[in-house]
């Protein structure tokens, strides 16, 4: 094995007696060559075992076809599913993804962004929520965020307000005496806040007794369990005898809460109705399949990439399109009815 260096257009050119230019054209505009010559070159390619080098191409034409992604963490199924769906858009759009997992640390994520920029990514999708959108907007790259604070950047979000309304509405239709919403304190400019607002508005409009129960959820599993236990006890105390419709802000928490009930009673009593949010796997794998508001993650992901592609294309043409307002797209969630609202789970003992 001699020390063969990489085969380049130059080598192919010599081998075929064409010029580099023609070789380049073979790849980028094959129709401009005669069929015979295409054949000659394609034969040469395999004869020489040519491997294309897109790095050089980038340097020459400036198009990296890279999209940078920063996810906050992947242990929440939501983000990993989203990431997965985003990656799948490669088939449609051809963009490659440089992915960073954020540490929920602003400084670190800032470095990640710098790194991405250094690789001349053409656009960025941000799932992480540490860096405020007005800072994101200051980087000179097209950006789309998903389900996070998005005042100054383009974004794609679930219609959380409608989702909450659907949830509350379903519970109401099941003749619940009181509607309870369990959530943590979310800033008003986060998309999640709409869940609280939607719930609240619905109850107000329909004059339904309700309470929003705030408790810390996001931290550790243990902490979250403890908090939900307290919440459960409080509910048992305060609303005994009433039929309770409980809308929990996420399926993971809904499942935890459901477990508390089932572990106490051995089943889901008739005076409890539960609905979660997200349609994450746990919702259907729970001891009693949990009704939920399904985020259409595939659509969210597709919309995000699709919107980003538009922005990137826009950028390649004009220089103006100057102070366009950020575009915010919205995806409608779907109501998924399962046993925690629909029917009496039949359980023994």
């Amino acid at each position: 094995m001699a020390k063969k260096k990489n085969i380049t257009f130059n080598d192919i050119a010599k081998y075929t007696n064409f010029s580099k230019t023609t070789i380049s054209r073979y790849f980028n505009n094959p129709d401009s060559l005669t069929l015979e010559n295409q054949k000659i070159i394609s034969d040469a390619l395999i004869a020489l075992d040519y491997k294309e080098n897109k790095v050089a191409r980038i340097l020459a034409n400036g198009k990296t076809e890279f999209i940078g992604i920063i996810v906050p963490n992947i242990y929440l199924n939501y983000y990993s599913e989203m990431l997965s769906q985003i990656l799948l858009t490669y088939e449609e759009f051809g963009y490659k993804f440089l992915v960073f997992a954020g540490n929920e640390n602003e400084e670190i994520e800032r470095r990640y962004i710098q790194e991405l920029l250094a690789y001349k990514i053409e656009g960025m999708i941000i799932l992480s929520h540490t860096i405020p959108s007005h800072e994101l907007a200051s980087y000179q790259v097209p950006i789309v965020t998903i389900e996070r604070e998005d005042r100054y950047v383009c974004s794609v979000n679930t219609d959380n307000y409608m989702g909450a309304t659907q949830a509350a509405s379903l519970l109401a239709r099941h003749d619940c005496d009181v509607l309870l919403h369990i959530n943590s304190h979310v800033p008003e400019n986060w998309p999640d806040y709409e869940r609280i607002k939607g719930f609240q508005d619905f109850c107000l409009e329909h004059d339904i007794q309700n309470e929003i129960i705030y408790t810390e959820l996001g931290t550790s599993f243990e902490r979250c369990s403890q908090n939900l236990t307290s919440v459960f006890e409080r509910i048992e105390e305060n609303y005994g005898g009433q039929k309770k419709g409980i809308f929990v802000s996420g399926d993971t928490y809904a499942n935890l809460f459901l477990n508390l009930i089932v572990r106490k009673y051995g089943f889901l009593p008739d005076d409890y109705r539960i609905i979660g949010f997200d349609n994450s796997p746990i919702s259907r794998e729970a001891i009693i399949p949990i009704s939920t508001i399904g985020q259409q993650i595939d659509q969210l992901a597709h919309e995000a990439v699709s919107l980003l592609v538009e922005l990137m294309n826009e950028r390649k043409k004009r220089k103006p399109a100057p102070f366009a307002q950020p575009i915010h797209k919205v995806v409608t969630p779907v109501l998924i009815r399962r046993e925690t609202t629909e029917k009496e789970p039949a359980m023994g003992a």
Copy 2:
């Protein structure tokens, strides 16, 4: 806003009256400049608002610092967690990750690999299992696989055999009359097969009544549920009255199985002991927290990247180190005891 093109070393050089080389050195070998000059340049950088361009650097020195990853899917928590842990190694090793989500389709994944190669990745981590390892080995790039068939490539795997032994052993210690292992049919050269083997060997050695129950698990949720239901009924029939120790090949399935039992009895009867595999979130979020064999995903990920980095460094030096045997690293799993083996879950009703 004039049409400012990108600031390059040339611009900085002119601005500071240094040469391009000196600017380059400022970045790659700052110590070779006087402190004053460093200061001059660093001032110029912000004055001109310089953005580094790593693409050009790649072309010049050949080091992309890219690692390519192909994951089979991310809806299984296992893979997304692994991906997450791999991404986190950026902090330690500085490699950036180009990620593709495989479609379980050989042809498509082959294209992904070609694309990665075109971007001159320095190494590749393969989680997907569609492409056989001997083909992987034929690509001229350092490769490390994780938990998949790995005959011809370097790999990192959980010690599945030991994990299975631990599981069986725990069940045996709890005086189970019969040990049951639920799994799907896995090829003998897959790491997972060791779970079956470990279980079998343990039972043989200790002369314990046992059965390996094969059923299709990997497909859809519904299918999987159906199959497990059948399995459950069969077990109830065949092993009534005996104390059953059940080792399920994955936590997701263990949870499904546990739900079947609890939905029938309202609790986990004393003649059932269950242990899963993976320590995925579901195992502790289950109606009764499930004992499991914990894969140390963080370690697996770290070992994988670390090994890959070694391989990549090796490659940068010599040309020989020719036909080195593939290195296979192994990570020990940890036994995690929870309620499905340890104590009587207290349930009402």
